[in-house]
């Protein structure tokens, strides 16, 4: 074998890899143990209410269980998102439908999925703990999956035409196209959306580990249950420890997973020239230096891959060049496709009919309450948005204009945005009760907690993107404060502000369900609102009300998106885009 130019990097990397190899091996052993212990717990007898210990020694185990739930839910989300996005992007016949479905599904608050998902999973796997666990995992999944699917889909749709043509003319198999073109092209979008998704997962998890459905109580071992029970019993010590662990996990995820991933995905940036500033990650450097990590996966992979490529090359598919515009030639649908379509239509029609029949049992007073709730929640969500915008714009601009502070605050805001606000709900509620404020105002505070960071984060980025020569012009011409804001700053941050507000508004709607209703030992705190209705309906097993409330929320979210946000977005894209 002649000397490969790539071989050199392996030789020079021999400075300290041995220690790291041992570390990697130790990690593998730990993973093995973790799988075994999770397996025995999951496959054990179903215990709906697991008693939660308040001792700090129990925390690592709880944290581990929660992380496993998030991890599995995330892997499921990723798989689903890729399958869904791929199917939608390459099947023009159903593309519009699939995207519309995605748009509606992502407007439904996570908790609305709770009863159907948990009931279905418990019914499916009645004899193991796994049934309940899978229910919760699927619930977290619904909080993570939609934006990932959107991201993958829109990446696929934006692959430059000549790249697609190159892959066709060189007769790539679908497999090769996926790994060498589609995945790399989508990687950056997937990484950034994964950060948002996992934050959303934690948000849902905190509230999902402990819930009541009709007469049945569920309480699973995990951080969410730990914090909730600690708050209920007023154990401040345990609460503090719990918060510390939550923040530790968020920071560790950022350092151990996201930063290395962002740094690594930099090589997938679709750019013609190398950009100067790149994120660096010491962890990534370590991993890349580990001889085990650098060579083993590559070798394993090529052992699997090479025979596949040989087989693909022999198929008839790989011998011809497939035209790119074949979708436009109207080939008639096969009978099988028609059968599937009709079958799907029948099932959907029947389901919709049943649901409508179920809705008829909603009484007039219930409907009235729902309508009032809709108005109340709508006002609350927008109040939360307004308040967030009012304080984050001046603060964010001040930070953004000062690069020294910004460099320090920006990563902090990013981490704060990933801290699940739901973790702090129990303690905040106790505080609110003590002050004597009702949940009507309190729930706005709770929503704020979850949403304002996204706006702050984006406003800082927006302020930093305003070119300094524009700022100099404004001081040169002695702009008044009013002129400075209306002519320079607000237009400059507008696209970023809108992006932040859209994300925050989605979060606020989702948070309304958690914020407007809370069960404390001995009593239930609630206020008028759609979110409270959803919660209360879940608690009491009143599914028609749950369904109707969900329909209301998703109607309002979709309408707001179409009428307000999308327009503002377009305005931001066309008019307020600052081009380099």
């Amino acid at each position: 074998m002649k000397l490969h130019p790539l071989a050199r990097t392996l030789v020079t990397a021999r400075t300290w890899p041995f220690v790291i190899d041992v570390g990697v091996a130790a990690c593998a052993l730990a993973v093995f143990f973790a799988v075994i212990s999770t397996g025995t717990y999951w496959l054990g007898k179903p215990v709906p209410v697991v008693p939660i210990s308040h001792s700090i020694g129990a925390l690592p185990a709880y944290a581990f269980y929660s992380i496993v739930r998030i991890g599995i839910a995330y892997l499921l989300s990723l798989t689903f998102a890729i399958t869904y996005g791929y199917t939608a992007a390459y099947n023009p016949r159903i593309e519009a439908w699939m995207i519309a479905v995605l748009d509606i599904l992502q407007s439904i608050p996570v908790l609305s999925f709770l009863p159907p998902v948990v009931l279905a999973m418990v019914a499916l796997i009645p004899s193991h703990q796994m049934g309940i666990e899978m229910g919760v995992v699927l619930l977290i999944f619904t909080g993570q999956v939609w934006n990932l699917a959107f991201s993958f889909y829109s990446s696929l749709k934006s692959i430059p035409r000549e790249m697609l043509e190159a892959s066709r003319i060189y007769r790539y198999s679908a497999w090769q196209r996926f790994w060498q073109l589609e995945m790399p092209y989508s990687a950056i979008g997937l990484v950034w959306n994964s950060i948002v998704s996992v934050a959303g997962g934690w948000f849902a998890l905190m509230a999902c580990e402990m819930f009541t459905m009709g007469t049945r109580n569920f309480q699973l071992p995990g951080l969410g249950s730990y914090l909730q029970t600690a708050a209920d019993s007023g154990d401040i010590h345990a609460l503090e420890a719990g918060f510390a662990v939550v923040i530790l996990i968020v920071v560790a995820t950022d350092q151990l997973a996201w930063r290395p991933l962002i740094a690594w995905s930099d090589k997938f940036k679709f750019e013609q020239v190398e950009s100067a500033d790149r994120l660096t990650s010491p962890i990534l450097n370590l991993l890349q230096r580990s001889a085990l990590f650098a060579s083993l996966p590559g070798q394993l992979w090529s052992h699997i891959e090479e025979p596949m490529y040989r087989r693909f090359a022999r198929t008839k598919e790989a011998r011809v060049v497939h035209p790119l515009d074949e979708g436009t030639s109207r080939n008639t649908a096969s009978p099988a496709l028609w059968t599937i379509a009709i079958l799907a239509l029948t099932v959907v029609g029947w389901g919709a009919l049943q649901a409508v029949l179920m809705l008829r049992t909603v009484t007039w007073p219930e409907l009235k309450l729902l309508l009032e709730g809709a108005v109340a929640t709508f006002l609350r969500v927008n109040a939360a948005l307004l308040i967030s915008a009012l304080w984050t714009i001046p603060v964010g601009v001040a930070i953004g204009f000062n690069p020294k502070i910004a460099r320090f605050i920006q990563p902090l805001a990013q981490i704060l945005a990933s801290v699940p606000a739901t973790a702090f709900f129990p303690i905040l509620l106790i505080g609110l009760v003590k002050i004597g404020g009702g949940l009507g105002i309190g729930s706005i505070a709770l929503m704020l907690l979850g949403t304002q960071w996204y706006i702050l984060f984006n406003v800082i980025a927006g302020a930093m993107s305003i070119p300094s020569d524009l700022r100099e012009v404004s001081s040169l011409f002695r702009f008044t404060r009013w002129q400075r804001w209306t002519r320079l700053i607000l237009p400059g941050i507008f696209p970023y502000l809108i992006t932040g507000m859209v994300t925050a508004s989605g979060g606020a709607w989702n948070a309304s369900v958690f914020a407007e209703y809370s069960r404390m030992p001995g009593r239930t705190l609630q206020t008028i609102g759609l979110g409270a209705q959803i919660d209360a309906a879940t608690d009491s097993g009143r599914f028609p009300v749950l369904l109707l409330a969900t329909i209301f929320i998703s109607l309002m979210v979709v309408t707001m998106n179409r009428l307000v946000w999308r327009r503002l977005y377009r305005l931001a894209e066309t008019r307020y885009k600052l081009e380099g």
Partner: protein
């Protein structure tokens, strides 16, 4: 008729064609009965042993033609054959060198070159050896583990060539391969390509290059096909008899370039020197009555600049020389010439441009008068602008949405072309102060009306 000596019509092919297109057409169906014809029925063959250049102004469907010949795009009618087998079922062996290079930025040079071989199921060792050899051939020895973004444009296109040649294609297609490169790099790559071809270093039997650069075509090609537009059709197809290496300054070379300029600048007249042997049938024409002129995508400032230059030269000059003076490529200059001609500022005769009386006045005036002259000319000659103006005048609120006109012109042009037509119309109309355009609301507004509303807003 001296140029006839260096031209002879491409003889009807006696050797077996590698790729043969039989009456291929491309059109896009519209919701209404109309269809947008992009390319009208065309015959074309690629035979072994020649470099073919496909030349034409933008909008003549050069790239569409290339994609139909490679099987990337299905003709709306007609059939493409690969060694007399329908191309959809044949195992074809072609490569494309792309204008944008289309390299995968996340893969090294070596991986990029290896990828097509991987797709053909070739074992790693052989793959590596063939790729390294090809990288060596194109002169990128030592760069195999670099990423494309670390390379200059010229080196990136070398990777593009290596990737194209490593599969030993029978026909090498190139889609404006040098137009994203600077002049010197392009020249260098061109001569290296010729060298590879002459020395038979590559097993490729035929090269098909799409270009808008006339000199490039004359420099490289054994055979040149000139396309016309509306819809795309073959204007002329002839062999170049000048021996390689060709000298840009030699008489036959410049004559040929001049001849092609003449063909391109007079789209309405059938070319004289190259008789249309291959197409005994009637010349393709539009199925429908054209209502709107195709607006050339030129800026008013460019038109003024050209006219001023022409005036400096005594009001008349050879277009080829003008392009040379400006260091313009044909695609840059032709729209400006077309626009000036459409507005009645310029006349084209025998490849010469001569300024009209109005054109001279326009070039001599100061800016406000120029706008006035431009306005009159635009209203007189451009139907779309006339219609927009009339609609604005007749509506009580003096505003009309852009979609209204888009709907009218997209009966005639493809969606993309409609947008570009609209963009040019807006550009001209704004310059002539015929109307203003509110980009946020996508509406045309009468200039006075705009001032009024603006004044109102200010008051509030």
């Amino acid at each position: 008729m001296q140029e006839v000596a260096i031209l002879s019509p491409a003889e009807n092919v006696k050797t077996e064609a590698i790729i043969r297109a039989e009456r291929i057409e491309k059109y896009y169906a519209q919701p209404s009965e109309n269809r947008i014809q992009v390319i009208s029925a065309t015959d074309l063959s690629i035979v072994p042993g020649e470099i073919v250049a496909l030349l034409g102004p933008s909008g003549s469907g050069k790239s569409t033609m290339l994609r139909m010949l490679t099987g990337l795009s299905v003709p709306s009618a007609g059939q493409v054959y690969w060694h007399e087998k329908p191309i959809a079922d044949a195992e074809i062996n072609v490569s494309i060198v792309f204008q944008s290079f289309a390299l995968f930025p996340w893969m090294t040079v070596l991986e990029n070159v290896e990828a097509p071989l991987q797709a053909r199921g070739i074992a790693p060792a052989e793959r590596h050896e063939r790729s390294m050899k090809m990288i060596d051939t194109v002169g990128l020895d030592g760069f195999e583990s670099a990423y494309p973004k670390e390379l200059s444009g010229g080196m990136r296109q070398r990777v593009g060539f290596a990737r194209a040649l490593v599969v030993e294609p029978e026909v090498l297609f190139m889609d404006e391969p040098f137009s994203a490169l600077d002049v010197l790099t392009a020249e260098n790559l061109r001569s290296e390509l010729l060298e590879l071809w002459e020395k038979k270093t590559m097993p490729t039997k035929s090269v098909f290059i799409v270009t808008h650069n006339i000199e490039e075509a004359v420099l490289l090609a054994d055979r040149i096909i000139v396309l016309g537009r509306n819809p795309g059709h073959i204007r002329t197809d002839f062999r170049v008899q000048i021996l390689q290496p060709r000298d840009r300054k030699s008489e036959p070379f410049t004559q040929l370039v001049d001849y092609i300029y003449k063909v391109l600048t007079r789209p309405d007249v059938a070319p004289v020197a190259a008789p249309d042997h291959q197409h005994p049938g009637p010349r393709p024409r539009d199925q429908r009555q054209m209502h709107y002129q195709m607006l050339p995508h030129a800026r008013p400032g460019g038109i003024a600049g050209l006219l001023e230059l022409l005036l400096d030269k005594g009001g008349r000059d050879d277009i080829y020389r003008l392009a040379d003076d400006l260091a313009f490529e044909i695609d840059d200059l032709l729209p400006i010439v077309d626009a000036a001609q459409l507005l009645g500022f310029l006349k084209i005769e025998e490849g010469d441009a001569s300024i009209t009386e109005k054109g001279a006045e326009f070039a001599n005036s100061e800016i406000l008068r120029q706008k006035e002259l431009f306005r009159d000319a635009a209203i007189e000659h451009v139907l779309l602008l006339r219609q927009i103006r009339r609609a604005l005048e007749s509506k009580s609120d003096h505003t009309v949405p852009e979609d209204f006109f888009l709907d009218m012109i997209d009966e005639q042009f493809s969606e993309e072309e409609s947008r570009r037509q609209m963009e040019t119309a807006i550009n001209w109309g704004r310059y002539a102060e015929l109307f203003d355009f509110d980009a946020a609301r996508r509406r045309f507004v009468m200039p006075d009306a705009l001032e009024e509303t603006a004044a109102n807003e200010e008051v509030q």
